[in-house]
Symmetry: C2
Subunit: 267 residues, 2 copies
């Protein structure tokens, strides 16, 4: 075993999610990173070679693919012995919607928000209806907030522009819960460990690169999409999101995306 | 009966509160208007002459004076057959605190406010403690507001500056309740009626002037002090506060305050 292949194994071990590896979710991360363009295919063989090093069995990959087909995320076909998978229109739309937030190199806190306040009692239902259709964050039984300016019409709700300057601990805990902070810290540590031991002259094979990219994107996606970009005051002091983003992006920069030919199995 | 004395009687009838004449409260209005300065006295005789035309019996005035002495609002003494009453230090402080709002000739809506938001559940108690000591207005179980900038330290509450631009009906009804709006409309109508029939050449006697001033201040005090000066958006469309203020102030301008000598019974 060379020093280089052993680093790959160490990095994979660092980056594998210690808690929960949902295979279908890993496959979604993989397609989002490497096969989001219309027509971009991934062969069954490439998929297995990218995912197996994470300690996931081919049978689990088959089950996950079946589920993703059933849910309308991917479409598959088979020519001879070669199966090929593509994102469905639905899957591509879902993927594209979150791509900017996952790959953003900087993420400024968003300082201008608005509140919707419902009347106690009957108003709570009105607020719940609004929250069903828009991405408001509840901060109390009858209060929700969202980035941007207050709507002019708010259907019986009091709409108020806010730019929070300070925040009590309970708001930080609600919007940036302790377990999310812990996940983010653990990911930062994992990426920093991998970066520290990374041999300078190391060049990944295309599929090694794909494995590591998938792990990075998958872990980061599950941190960054758990909350919107909050006002600075709403982040708790132990929030390492920006440092984590930097180290993820830096490591992705070292790992080229494999060519379409390699991914589709025609290379 | 001359035309002039008959107008006085009509105006008194117009301005007497149709719902509730608490005599002690009328006396508070009277002292606040005419004997707020340290040392300013009102004799028992002047008091009776000012208040009796409102249809209030001397016995009711004696009972109210007794209550006001007991509550520490006024102090009384008697030399021979002449009793004299003054505001206590406490009474003067209470009176002075509300005088600017009662007599303000203009009252611009206050547009800069802040909210305090408590965490659901345990936080409600924290908010209630703050409301006990400061004049926050509750707008929900766990939300209160007050004019001015948000405090830097808010003891576990989320403090947010707001400048409300629009408001739903329930907020208007909560801060400016329908019965307050009705009182204000009724007072405006009463003052407008009195002003319309007022003979141009009419000159009140000092005690007639005092009676009408007392009625005007008393009725207006009970409207204007029921709420703070709210953001413009929080007033309902049928709120006639500014028109009412104008007509009250205009009529007070026609009614000179009696001299100290007349009020103290030494004139």
């Amino acid at each position: 075993m060379t020093n280089q292949s052993s680093w790959f194994e160490t990095a994979v071990a660092d980056l594998v999610d210690p808690q929960d590896q949902r295979v279908w979710s890993i496959i979604v991360s993989l397609f989002g990173d490497m096969a989001q363009e219309p027509g971009a295919q991934i062969s069954g063989g490439a998929l297995t070679q990218i995912i197996e090093p994470m300690g996931i069995k081919p049978e689990a990959i088959r089950v996950a693919l079946h589920r993703l087909r059933k849910d309308g995320w991917i479409e598959s076909d088979r020519i001879g012995r070669v199966s090929r998978h593509v994102l469905s229109e639905f899957g591509r739309t879902q993927s594209a919607a979150v791509t900017p937030r996952i790959y953003a190199r900087d993420s400024a806190p968003v300082e201008h928000w608005h509140l919707l306040i419902a009347e106690d009692g009957t108003g709570t239902q009105v607020l719940e209806d609004v929250m069903l259709s828009d991405d408001y964050i509840p901060i109390g039984r009858n209060i929700a907030m969202r980035a941007g300016a207050a709507p002019l019409q708010a259907e019986g709700l009091l709409a108020l522009d806010i730019s929070p300057q300070t925040a009590p601990k309970w708001i930080q805990d609600r919007l940036c819960p302790p377990e999310l902070r812990a996940s983010c810290r653990a990911l930062l540590t994992a990426v920093q460990n991998a970066a520290k031991t990374h041999p300078e002259e190391w060049t990944p094979t295309p599929l090694q690169s794909a494995t590591l990219r998938t792990l990075l994107v998958h872990r980061w996606r599950r941190v960054v999409l758990r909350q919107p970009d909050l006002p600075a005051a709403f982040y708790p002091p132990d929030w390492v999101g920006p440092a984590c983003r930097n180290s993820i992006i830096r490591m992705l920069d070292l790992l080229p995306r494999p060519s379409a030919a390699i991914l589709s199995g025609s290379g």
